[in-house]
Amino acid sequence: MGSIAIEIFGKKLRNPVMNASGTLGYGREIERLWSIKVLGAFVTKGLSILPCQGNPQPRIFDLGCGMLNSIGLQNIGIKRYLEEYTEFFLERKTPVVVNIFGFTEEEYIECALAIGDNPVVLAIEVNLSCPNVKTGGILFGKKPETVFRIIRGVKSATNFPVIAKLSQEVTDIVELAKAAFEAGADGLTLINTIPGVVLEENRVIRGGLSGPFLKSIALKAVYDCSKAVPIPIIGVGGIMNTEDVISFLRAGAKAVQIGTATFVYPNTIPKIVKELKKRRSFD
């Protein structure tokens, strides 16, 4: 079996496979089935400067070929998380991508400052699909200007590489990729969940779509953005198996993240890593 290590942000990773933010708990939970050492890097759940309780129930809807979630970014806050988990990742020698979000531009910067020079951190992934409370809830990721400002702000507050995770619900994702790049982003993660709505007993519930049906849309974003900006792209959206990973790499991704697949087939990530290793020795 050949090596499938990659270099990204100047560091070497065991392999190009990460989990997607918000889909592998805080990190410990899956270890009842497999060690997180399997991952190229662990991506944290979205973390904010203050703890966040998230949305009321119900939060999960099965759409047959994927799902809709309205978790609402529940988390224990970035400081408590780093206190409780740094040791855990150190022990496992697993680099961590810290996914951060804020409800104001300042909160993004505070998150970056809270990370400091934490020894397990590989990079900061900035989730731009968060409502800006100051503009009545328009997502930061909707406008090139706000993307530019937030990435620039986070960059100035940290020495770690900064990855912009873009929202797909935009007229031209390439324009946003360029704004992130010009602000100094070191990489892009494409794509986040896509906004959708379900009707349950006459209630309208908003949430984000994930799962297999995102794949073709995510591939388009990865392909188009990889032609437009010279920074590494991490592909996410609907990956279910090794074939899908190969498609993303071919479309221009340097690494991939796997989310919803793990909910249904909890061994997806170790299986893909194993299969990638087998393949690599043949090419």
Partner: protein
């Protein structure tokens, strides 16, 4: 927790809406605490996520769940035939904790009986079952429990007490005063709300099996989180810190 592959041995119709599914599994079945659950894969175009069901019975090489047809997934499950392969993930979650009380009062509403059956099977000391159902048809779910002399309430009065099981319980609860007893309950949310109202004055110890829609069942997605009264842990995941909770811990 592990991946358990098996084949359907039987999928018995108990009432029009209730079924008892037994799966024969090959690998060794891990130890199970009553109240723990499995995530069941329902292999069909229209179903993506697994569905959670409490372990109803665990044999040498068989696992049973009892379920009610509620939506798409359970409807499809009810049509699966003997011999079909099925994938389970479990056992998951925290089950009932028994603390050597003098008496356990087990309260089940409707299909909630599925959540306490294994518990009852494994009960060592004194216990009393309260079972509420809409009509005498619901007795089909507790045929195996008749020897335990359950107290039964039906909404339509077609058998036993007429009314819901919590008002039935409230009529009996004074008999237990002075006894070191605890309530173990499984049923719909409004049953827990009534239960809390009945128990609130004495803060009777009570564990409930709480259901919430689940994305993963393994603590990964936070889809099942509920509010608690605990300032340190204001949100808890049903699949990880539950499904059995101290009633007084939850914000209903």
């Amino acid at each position: 927790m592990k991946h358990i592959l098996g084949k359907i041995l039987e999928n018995i119709e108990l009432t029009e809406k209730h079924f008892l599914l037994t799966v024969k599994v090959k690998a060794k079945i891990p130890d199970v605490v009553p109240g723990q659950f499995v995530m069941v894969m329902i292999d069909d175009k229209k179903v993506f996520l697994r569905r959670p069901f409490t372990l109803y019975k665990v044999g040498e090489d068989t696992i049973s769940i009892m379920y009610k047809v509620r939506g798409f997934g359970t409807n499809l499950l009810s049509r699966m035939k003997k011999g079909r392969e099925i994938s389970l993930l479990g056992p998951l979650g925290r089950g009932f904790a028994l603390r050597n009380r003098d008496l356990y009062v087990i309260v089940a509403g409707g299909i909630g009986i599925a959540g306490v059956n294994l518990l009852i099977e494994r009960m060592k000391g004194r216990f009393q079952i309260f079972y509420g159902t809409s009509s005498s048809k619901g007795l089909a779910l507790i045929r195996n429990l008749i020897s335990h002399d359950p107290i039964i309430a039906t909404m339509d009065g077609s058998f036993g007490y007429k009314g819901d099981i919590i008002s039935c319980l409230s009529q009996h609860i004074h008999y237990f005063s002075g006894v070191d007893f605890e309530i173990l309950a499984c049923g719909p949310k409004d049953m827990y709300v009534s239960l809390k109202n009945v128990l609130v004055t004495y803060r009777v110890p009570c564990q409930v099996l709480w259901e919430e829609k689940m994305g993963c069942g393994m603590g990964l997605c936070f889809g099942c989180a509920v509010k608690t009264e605990n300032a340190e842990h204001p949100m808890k995941r049903v699949c990880l810190e539950g499904p059995v909770f101290d009633l007084w811990d939850l914000s209903l």
